[in-house]
C-alpha cells in the first residue's frame, strides 16, 4: 500500500513538473529577451537560456518615465478596488444566497445575463455617466468601474459557496440572539475564507492588468496605471522588446507575492494529501 502511494506520488510529480515547464516555457523566452541588450527585434534564432546576465532593461524600465510612480498608482487602485469588491461581493452574494426577497430570480438572471453581453461598447456610456458626476480623471471613478464590473461574476462565484453552508449554523446564531450581520461575520466569512481569498486574488489581478478603462478615465499623465506604462514602451514604429518584457516581468511580482501570501494564509493545506478523489 505504502509503495503504491509512493509510486503514485512520483508519477504525479513528474506530470506536474512537465506541466509547469509547459506553462513557464514562454516566460523563459521572455526573460531571455529581457536580458538582451538593444532588443528592437526578438532574438533570432530564439534563446531560452539568457546568453548574458544583462539587467539594463530592468533598470531602465524601472527608472524610465515615472514607471515607479505608475507602479505605486496601480498598487493603490488595485488594493482599494479589491477591498471594496470583496465587501460588495460578499454582501451581495449573501443577500442572494440566503435571503428570499421579491424578484430575486429576475434580478439574479439580470446579473448573469449582463455578463454575457460584450462590454466593449459599454465604456462609451460609462464615460458619459462618470463625466456627468465629475469623476473623470479621478481614481474614484476608475475604482467604481472596477468594482461595478466585478459584482455580477463575483456574486455568482461566492453565492455557490454560501448556499452550501448548512442552515443549522445560521439558525444557531439566531437562537443566540445574533442578527444576519452576525451570521455574515461569524459564520459566512470564516467558512468562505478560501473562496474569498481566491476572489481577492482574481479581482486584484483584474484591476492590475486593466488597460482600456484606465487609459480612458485617467487623463493626467502622472496618475496613470502600470499597464499604460508598459503599453507606452511599445512604439509606433519601433519597439524595444527587452524593455517591454522587463517591465511586464516587474509587473508580475506583486501579484505573485499576493497570490503566495493569500494562498498560504487562507487556503487550508491539509498536510498529508487533502481529499482522496
Amino acid at each position: 500500500m505504502r509503495k503504491k502511494q509512493r509510486s503514485l506520488q512520483i508519477f504525479l510529480h513528474v506530470i506536474l513538473i512537465g506541466l509547469v515547464l509547459f506553462s513557464i516555457f514562454p516566460f523563459l523566452y521572455m526573460l531571455a529577451t529581457a536580458m538582451t541588450e538593444d532588443s528592437y527585434t526578438m532574438p533570432y534564432p530564439p534563446v531560452i537560456i539568457p546568453k548574458s546576465f544583462y539587467f539594463g532593461n530592468f533598470v531602465s524600465a524601472w527608472t524610465s518615465s515615472n514607471f515607479a510612480r505608475f507602479f505605486m498608482n496601480s498598487l493603490f487602485v488595485s488594493t482599494v478596488s479589491t477591498m471594496l469588491t470583496i465587501i460588495v461581493s460578499v454582501m451581495s452574494a449573501y443577500g442572494f444566497a440566503k435571503i428570499n426577497f421579491t424578484g430575486k430570480n429576475i434580478l439574479f438572471n439580470l446579473y448573469i445575463f449582463s455578463m454575457m453581453i460584450p462590454a466593449v461598447l459599454s465604456l462609451v456610456s460609462q464615460y458619459t455617466v462618470l463625466n456627468a458626476v465629475h469623476l473623470i480623471d479621478t481614481y474614484t471613478g476608475l475604482i467604481l468601474l472596477y468594482v461595478s464590473g466585478g459584482i455580477a461574476g463575483n456574486m455568482y462565484f461566492l453565492k455557490g459557496f454560501i448556499e452550501d453552508i448548512p442552515a443549522e449554523y445560521e439558525e444557531s446564531v439566531y437562537i443566540d440572539g445574533g442578527s444576519r450581520w452576525t451570521v455574515l461575520r461569524h459564520v459566512i466569512l470564516p467558512m468562505c475564507k478560501s473562496s474569498i481569498a481566491t476572489l481577492a486574488i482574481l479581482s486584484f489581478m483584474g484591476s492590475w492588468d486593466e488597460f482600456f478603462s484606465a487609459l480612458t478615465i485617467i487623463k493626467t499623465e502622472s496618475k496613470r496605471t502600470l499597464p499604460i506604462a508598459i503599453k507606452m514602451f511599445q512604439g509606433q514604429n519601433a519597439t524595444q522588446w527587452g524593455l517591454v518584457f522587463a517591465a511586464s516581468l516587474i509587473a508580475l511580482v506583486p501579484i505573485l507575492l499576493i497570490f503566495i501570501t493569500f494562498q498560504k494564509a487562507f487556503v487550508k493545506e491539509n498536510e498529508g494529501g487533502g481529499i482522496k478523489g
Binding site: L12, I15, L16, V20, S23, P26, F27, M30, Y44, P45, P46, I48, V88, S89, M91, S92, Y94, G95, I99, F101, T102, L107, L110, Y111, S114, M115, M116, I117, P118, V120, L121, S122, V124, S125, V129, S148, I151, F157, D164, R180, S194, S195, T198, F211, P227, K231, V244, S248, A251, L252, I255, F259, Q263, K264, V267, E271, G273, I275, K276, G277
Partner: protein, 302 residues
C-alpha cells in the same frame, strides 16, 4: 402578516445587495440599455448629433448583405470562429484544469509551488503574451516552436502557423487554454477545499476505487463550481479579442476574426456604432442561449 414579513425580508435584502445593485444599475445595466437603443439607430458619436431610428436595418445588414466584400460574410465568419473557440477552449480548459487541480490536491509536497507556477500565465498581461505567442509561432525554422518540432523530428518542414486559417486558429486556442487553465485550477482548488471530508471517509469504508470516488462523489459535489466555471469560460471564449488583434489581426483574409474583434473594429475604426451594438446584442443572445443550454444539460445529467 405574511405581507409585512416579506417586506421586512426585502428591506434586509436591500441592505445587503443595495450598494451592489446601485453600482450595477448605473455602470453595467444602463450602458446595456443604451446599447439596445443604439442598435436601432445609425448612432453618431458626436455630442448633440441626431441619431436616426433605422429599425432592423443594422440586424439585416449582418445577415443579408452578400458579396466578397459585404458585411454578412465577415459577420458569419466571426460568428463561426467565436463558436469554434467556445467548443475548443471551454472543454479544453475545464478538463485540464479539473484534472490538474485534483492532481495538485493529491500530491504530498509542493502544492503551493505547483499552484504558483501554473498560475503565472494567468496573471501575465494578455497584450504581452499575445505578442509573445506571435513570435513563438513564426513560420521560419528558427522560430521557437518550429525549431523544437524540427529538432524532435515531428515535422519535416517549418509550419506556417499564422498563415493558414486552421493553424492560426489553433494558435489562438492554444494561447487561450494555456493562459486560462491556471484560473480553472485555482477555482477548483478553492472548491475542493470546502468539500466535506466525511463522504470520502465513508466511501473508503465501502471500498470505492479512486475512479468511482471521482465520478460519484467529487464530480457531483463540484457541480455548482463546474457550472460557474463553464459559464465564465464560455463568456471568456466569446470575449476573445486582443489575442486575435495582436496575433493574426484577423488574417489570413479575415478568417480568424472573432465576434468581439469584429465588433471593436466596426465601432472604433469604422464608427459604425449602431451596427456594432446590433452585433453585440446578437452576440449576447448567442452567449445567453449557449449558457442556458449548458446549464440545462448539466442539471439534467444528474
Amino acid at each position: 402578516m405574511a405581507h409585512t414579513k416579506q417586506r421586512r425580508e426585502n428591506m434586509t435584502a436591500l441592505m445587503f445587495i443595495g450598494v451592489g445593485l446601485f453600482l450595477f444599475t448605473v455602470f453595467i445595466f444602463y450602458p446595456q440599455v443604451k446599447n439596445v437603443y443604439m442598435a436601432f439607430t445609425n448612432y453618431n458619436i458626436m455630442p448633440g448629433s441626431e441619431n436616426r431610428f433605422v429599425g432592423f436595418e443594422n440586424f439585416k445588414s449582418m445577415f443579408a448583405t452578400g458579396g466578397t466584400f459585404g458585411n454578412s460574410d465577415s459577420f458569419m465568419l466571426a460568428l463561426r470562429n467565436s463558436v469554434l473557440a467556445v467548443l475548443v477552449t471551454v472543454p479544453g480548459q475545464l478538463i485540464l484544469g479539473l484534472v490538474i487541480a485534483i492532481m495538485i490536491d493529491r500530491v504530498s509536497h509542493g502544492r503551493l509551488f505547483y499552484k504558483v507556477m501554473l498560475y503565472i500565465p494567468v496573471i501575465s498581461s494578455w497584450v504581452v503574451v499575445s505578442i509573445l505567442f506571435k513570435y513563438l509561432f513564426q513560420d521560419t525554422k528558427g522560430s521557437l516552436i518550429n525549431y523544437y518540432l524540427l529538432k524532435l523530428n515531428l515535422i519535416s518542414h517549418p509550419v506556417a502557423w499564422l498563415q493558414n486559417t486552421w493553424t492560426a486558429s489553433a494558435v489562438i486556442w492554444a494561447l487561450c487554454i494555456w493562459k486560462g487553465v491556471g484560473w480553472v485550477i485555482i477555482i477548483y482548488n478553492a472548491a475542493i477545499q470546502t468539500l466535506p471530508k466525511e463522504l470520502y471517509e465513508v466511501s473508503y469504508l465501502e471500498g470505492a476505487n479512486p475512479i468511482q470516488r471521482f465520478f460519484y462523489i467529487t464530480l457531483p459535489l463540484l457541480k455548482k463550481t463546474t457550472i460557474y466555471v463553464v459559464v465564465q469560460l464560455t463568456i471568456g471564449a466569446f470575449g476573445i479579442m486582443i489575442q486575435v488583434m495582436l496575433i493574426t489581426a484577423g488574417g489570413p483574409m479575415g478568417t480568424t476574426e472573432t465576434l468581439n474583434s469584429y465588433m471593436y473594429s466596426k465601432a472604433f475604426t469604422e464608427f459604425q456604432f449602431g451596427y456594432s451594438s446590433a452585433v453585440s446584442l446578437v452576440m449576447g443572445a448567442v452567449v445567453i442561449g449557449t449558457t442556458l443550454l449548458q446549464r440545462k444539460l448539466m442539471r439534467e445529467e444528474k
